[in-house]
Symmetry: C2
Subunit: 204 residues, 2 copies
């Protein structure tokens, strides 16, 4: 049994979310300083956005311009190289399925591949939207792309992802990145400092 004090931070993100990418680059180190591990939980933001009626952030008038400016500013602040990939926003369902397939047997490997995919998109500006692009990435990462190709078609993996997305929505996750810390919700990469303070103080 895991006590609350050592429960991992649940880190929800969409592979097509640039703010999620920034969070992915720093969350494990931040959590380690707080004596916590991190459970990585990719989900499909698009499924939630149907319910919240949100539009893709960077395409929204005025707010999208701010987000571009803010993203670049945040990337400079953390000293994290960052590009918006040529095709953006992009589908992240194949990346998610690959993740949960890996996660079933080796969560650490799934986490490493998630970061690998994120960097491929937001550091190298490459496509990770299509199943073939994800398999190519898997191959580059030294993973078994042939086995992954089968997994991406596996109805059980499709169901698993669907269940994870439903669970995320049920937990109130509606943005990326989104953190659950002992059940307490924090939305946004810019709330990591608040998570830190929350854990230091034991809440308020």
């Amino acid at each position: 049994m895991t006590s609350a004090a050592s429960s991992p931070i649940e880190f929800y993100f969409d592979f097509s979310s640039p703010y999620g990418y920034l969070a992915a680059r720093i969350i494990d180190a931040e959590a380690a300083e707080l004596g916590r591990k991190v459970t990585w939980r990719p989900f499909l933001l698009g499924a939630v956005m149907k319910q919240t009626k949100a539009e893709p952030l960077l395409t929204i008038p005025i707010k999208g311009d701010y987000a571009r400016h803010d993203l670049a500013r945040a990337a400079r602040y953390y000293d994290i190289p960052f590009v918006v990939p040529p095709q953006f926003p992009f589908a992240s369902i194949a990346a998610c399925r690959a993740f949960y397939w890996l996660n079933g047997t080796d969560p650490a490997k799934a986490r490493d591949f998630a970061l690998f995919l994120y960097e491929r998109a937001f550091l190298a500006g490459k496509d990770i939207s299509k199943p073939d692009s994800v398999l190519e990435a898997a191959s580059d990462a030294g993973l078994d792309a042939a086995a992954m190709a089968l997994a991406l078609q596996d109805p059980a993996i499709k169901e698993l992802l669907k269940a994870e997305v439903d669970k995320a929505i049920k937990k109130g996750v509606f943005g990326s990145p989104f953190f659950l810390v002992d059940g307490e919700p924090f939305w946004g990469h810019d709330r990591i400092a608040e998570v830190r303070e929350w854990l230091r103080k034991g809440g308020w």
Copy 2:
């Protein structure tokens, strides 16, 4: 001529924005610590939301629930008493016109009345949406409600507010609260710590 180093922080807010209320309660003290003054700039978020196609925050599924939770958490953090008024969201055009009328002759008085209105709504839970409610508040605040009643009908004041809203949109303001610090945009009460760091470091 005002040098950049002493330029006031421009504080944009909508009178019906609970996060704006929280910011209004703390921004002057925060700015004073940074050696800055604050220019208060109420605007009509609804006018911008037509362009960004945003819905009133607390009415959005899932996200609205988070916002209620987050608002209460932020209010506890700052130790600021806070209620969501019975009728919410509400119109803020009369409050804005009253503000800019006062602001024309006495910005400090306008600022004080803005905070008075905000506390009336989000501390006492009273209505500030109708011209009569704003005039009643003015009377309670010891202001000349009769003169304000005329001002609320004055086409010049209506035009002035319209121009202020247009200016805000042109500057990229799309949320409440929103801060412009030497032209650098920061959205959200939760970015005040970032504003502090930005000024301390001279940007990045």
